[in-house]
Each structure stands twice: as structure tokens, then as C-alpha cells.
Symmetry: C2
Subunit: 304 residues, 2 copies
């Protein structure tokens, strides 16, 4: 089924204890759409770049079968740029530079041929832009997943709360769940957040895996223990892309399929962190993914 992904398409400059990059292609929609493309053959993106974005960069999307009709290219303007430096533990980072550029005035225009999309991923962006996107779709998608971050809770909480009423699934990390709910316990936090609108809540815990909450049910999946986390940038977006890409592939939304979608999303995220930027997730085979998912099964299965 068709999947629409909206989010930033950007340049990142990343520094980790393992090295540093020049400007490389990044952004939520980039990671998420590449990740989703391994599951769903009808992925479309909406985003905006400047004319500093190269043809080869756009070619990378089309090589993965991703529809870029909704990717606006602003002449004479520059793409969103983010630069950050990870600490030694790789769990925390400092933002060095944020240049909004074209993203500062981003108006999400939905091409006519995108209107039939059945799955929608609202990647991390201003909640107002996420809400506008929903409003511009003539038919509500079957499933709307929203990803956000603490930044928007700090500066646009009212907009975010309004937008949350319109979505089915929210993905945030554990600290963000605590901030949004005002509850330390993730069980209590999940109850409050599920009352805000989403029917499903996914709490991403990085190296500790993820939790899925729905009604009174909860599912927990570990992260794959890795010898080396090379660059965590984009892992959350890659997770979200794999998650919704898998659901768009199977077509039916229920708790069991959500659980599997979390496993596939986690598997994709585990690849993402193994190299800088999108380097690893650009070049995967279906066999790579199947082998990684098998590792997740072995990692967490037991028979009592």
C-alpha cells in the first residue's frame, strides 16, 4: 500500500568518537524513506531542499523507488543544515549548528498523485506543519504515525497537543515521554499520553530497545547488543521508516502486526548506527534484513 513520508531532507555534519564527516545527506524523511523502501514499493516523500542539494542526492531516492514529486527545490536557497557532536557514551550529543534555511518557511504541498496514500508518517517537524499536512489530505490515511522531539514540547506544546489528537501512533523516546506526561514511570506516562489522542504509543529507548503501549497491552523489544555504535544519527527515523514501511507492506493494522513492525524497525535502526549517516541503510539486501531479524528472534525468544 502507498506510504507518504513528510520530514526534513537536509545536510548533516557529524562528529563522533570514531571520526567526523563533511556535509552529508541526512534528515528525518531521508532516513525514514530509505528504510521504508525495503518493505514498501510505493513510498512518496514531501519535503524541501535548496539548490545546494545535488542531482545525485535526489537520484539516491529514486534508485530506491521513492517518489520525489513532493520534494520542493528552492532556487537560490540553502538546505536545512545540522551539525552535532556525540559524547563518548554515544547516548548524548551537543548541537553545534542549526541553520533552518528552507525549512524555516516550509509549506508542505501535497502533489495530486499523493492524495490516495494509505499510510502517513509525519517525521520530526514543527507540529503546525505536521497538522497542515493532515489537513491537506482529502482522505484520511488508514494509519498516521507521528514522530516528534523534546524541542517541540519546549517551544510548541499547544500545537503539538492539537496535532496529537489527529494521529494513531506517536513515537518518542523515554525522556520525551516523561516530559510530555509529567510522569517518571513509563507505565503512567503511557496512560496519560494515550489519553491525548494516539491509540498506540511507541517509546524508543535506544540501546535498551523499545516499548509499545496500546489500551492495556504492552510489548517490549530489546535493541540488538552491538559491539560498536558508530553514529546514532537517524536511528529513530530509520526505526520509524522500517516500522511504517512494514505495516504498509502487510496492510493490516493490529497489535500483532505492530509488534512485528517494531522488530523490523529495530532491525533497520541497528543497521543505521553501524556507519555514518545513511551509508549503511542505502546498501542493504533483503537477505541482510532477514538475517538481522533472525538475530532479533534468537535474542529474545524463550519457551517456558
Amino acid at each position: 500500500m502507498s506510504l507518504l513520508i513528510i520530514g526534513s531532507v537536509a545536510f548533516d555534519a557529524i562528529e563522533t568518537p570514531f571520526g567526523k564527516t563533511d556535509k552529508i545527506v541526512g534528515g528525518a524523511a531521508t532516513y525514514a524513506s530509505l528504510s521504508a523502501s525495503y518493505f514498501c514499493d510505493d513510498v512518496k516523500i514531501v519535503g524541501v531542499v535548496g539548490d545546494d542539494f545535488h542531482k545525485e542526492d535526489i537520484q539516491e531516492f529514486t534508485n530506491h523507488g521513492i517518489d520525489v514529486d513532493g520534494l520542493q527545490i528552492k532556487k537560490g536557497e540553502k538546505s536545512f543544515f545540522w551539525s552535532g557532536k556525540y559524547h563518548n557514551d554515544m547516548n548524548s550529543r551537543d548541537t553545534l549548528i542549526t541553520e533552518l534555511n528552507v525549512l524555516g518557511t516550509f509549506d508542505p504541498i501535497i502533489p495530486e498523485n499523493y492524495q490516495d496514500c494509505e499510510f502517513l508518517l509525519l517525521g520530526n517537524l514543527a507540529p503546525q506543519v505536521q497538522q497542515t499536512t493532515i489537513g491537506r489530505l482529502t482522505k484520511r490515511p488508514k494509519l498516521i504515525v507521528l514522530d516528534t522531539m523534546n524541542f517541540w514540547m519546549d517551544i510548541a506544546l499547544t500545537d503539538l497537543l492539537e496535532t496529537l489528537k489527529l494521529v494513531d501512533v506517536l513515537t518518542i523516546n523515554d525522556e520525551e515521554a516523561r516530559q510530555l506526561s509529567g510522569e517518571y514511570s513509563l507505565v503512567k506516562a503511557s496512560k496519560k499520553i494515550l489519553d491525548m489522542g494516539p491509540k498506540y504509543l511507541i517509546i524508543k529507548k535506544g540501546e535498551h530497545g523499545a516499548l509499545l503501549f496500546h489500551e492495556d497491552k504492552v510489548f517490549s523489544t530489546p535493541a540488538l547488543p552491538l559491539a560498536e555504535v558508530f553514529d546514532p544519527t537517524g536511528a529513530g527515523d530509520t526505526f520509524a521508516g522500517g516500522f511504517i514501511g512494514y505495516l504498509a507492506k502487510v496492510g493490516t493494522v493490529n497489535f500483532n502486526n505492530m509488534k512485528n513492525a517494531i522488530i523490523f524497525g529495530s532491525a533497520m535502526a541497528s543497521f543505521c548506527v553501524e556507519k555514518f549517516g545513511t551509508e549503511k541503510i542505502k546498501n542493504l539486501s533483503q537477505e541482510d534484513i532477514a538475517a538481522r531479524v533472525k538475530q532479533f528472534v534468537e535474542l529474545s525468544s524463550f519457551t517456558i
Copy 2:
């Protein structure tokens, strides 16, 4: 099969954001033996208390079928006393008082009728005392599990490394695994630690569950997400007791049984934190435990 548990039997005074206790019974051997008693009907403890330890306190062990022949009572002396205060996040705590008392000169005497024990849990104690215990057993138990903490890595590392060569399973938390190995990545840490002697390594991650490493295999189990963690004291010991108690019950040591033992240990630990001290784990039924284990199965099972 018979299970010998050695460790502290003590008084604790605990303060959490939910309240505070007077002196209540605690100690590694207390939590571990109570926990193990739900699985194994032949649990024996070796420990030491002062004559401030009441008959009713000892009765609690025998009520659970625990053999206390190896519990020395030192006339005119006082039991080990620890007092601590948990921070609001319940993940960190300050030690307010540590009075070693009888534990300062503890000589682990093994009663003759303990000599045939097939499973041995060396609860958190000075590594030298743990090593002496192994040396005093005429026949090596089928499985030796050692629990320790950062304190001993700080002040008795050489002794600890010597003792690690003699055991089958080591249980420590993630920070301790990093300290012991000098590696941040738990995968790398596990390889180094498995080279130190133990064939199995269990890394306890509190609210994030536990990891089991053995040869090239790894198993991950979540912790049960709880609405409230009331008092984390003794959770690690309760985990260790449930873990080895389950193995002593099934009798056969292999990776699959270890995985199940971790689930049972985690289930017991999830009860422990729900009330102060041993209050909850003193009063469980087999039905309570079966229902909790079922929650773990539901929490982490998926079918791809």
C-alpha cells in the same frame, strides 16, 4: 536439587520518595533465599547475624523451608546494618550508614550436612569470603553463581579476579560490567569478562531488563514495566535467588534453561520492588508467580 546460598543477613533502614522504614530485615542471602524457596525445596543459607536478630526473623526463613543451620548467631554482637536513601528516579541512591558489625570478621563455616549441595550462590560479599566458601566445599557444586558489586572492584579487584576464575556464572549490572572490563560496549565487555573465567555472564539493567551472554550467544529479557517502583532494595539478590532456584529445580544447566531462569528471576525481582524490603516476596503464592511469568511471556513474545 540442593542449593546453598551465602551472603549477608542484615538490617536495613530504607528511605524512598514513598516513605521510610525503621530497621527491617534485609541482606543478600535473605532476599535470595526467600526468592529461591519458591522453586527449590532444599535451600540452605550460610551467614552471620548478631543477637539483635530476633527469633521471629529467623522463623521467617524456616517458614519458607530454608535451612538455617549455617546461620551463625554471634552473642553480644550486632548484625550488619545498612541505611540508604533513594533519589526521585529510584535508579540511584546514597548510602547513609554502613555498620559492618559481625560481617567484618565473617568466617563462612559450612555445616557438614551442607556439603552435598549441587548449586551454590555466592551473594554479594568480600571476594575473599566467597573464595573461602568454594574452598571449603569438599565437592565442587554443579553450578556456582557469583554476584558482586562495584565496591569490591574498587577495593579488592585482585581477589575478585581470582574468585571469578572459579565460578560458572557472574551477575553484575551494566555499569559494573563496564568498570570490570574497561569497555563501554556491553558486547565487548562481555567478551572480556567471559575470558576472566565465568562461562555465563548476566548483565542486570534494572528497569531495562537483563542480558545473558554465553559463548557467541546472547539473550535479552525486558523488565516488566511497572506503574510504581516502591523500593528497589534487594531486587538484584531476589533476581539471583529466583534464577538459581529455578535452575536447582529443573536440575539441568544449559542455555535454554538459563533463559527461563532469567525470566523467573526477573519475575521475582518485579515483585520485590513493589513493597518495602522483603514484604512482598515473603508472601507470594505459586499462582502469583505463574501469573507474573505469563505477563513476561506476553510482554516479549512475537511471531514473525
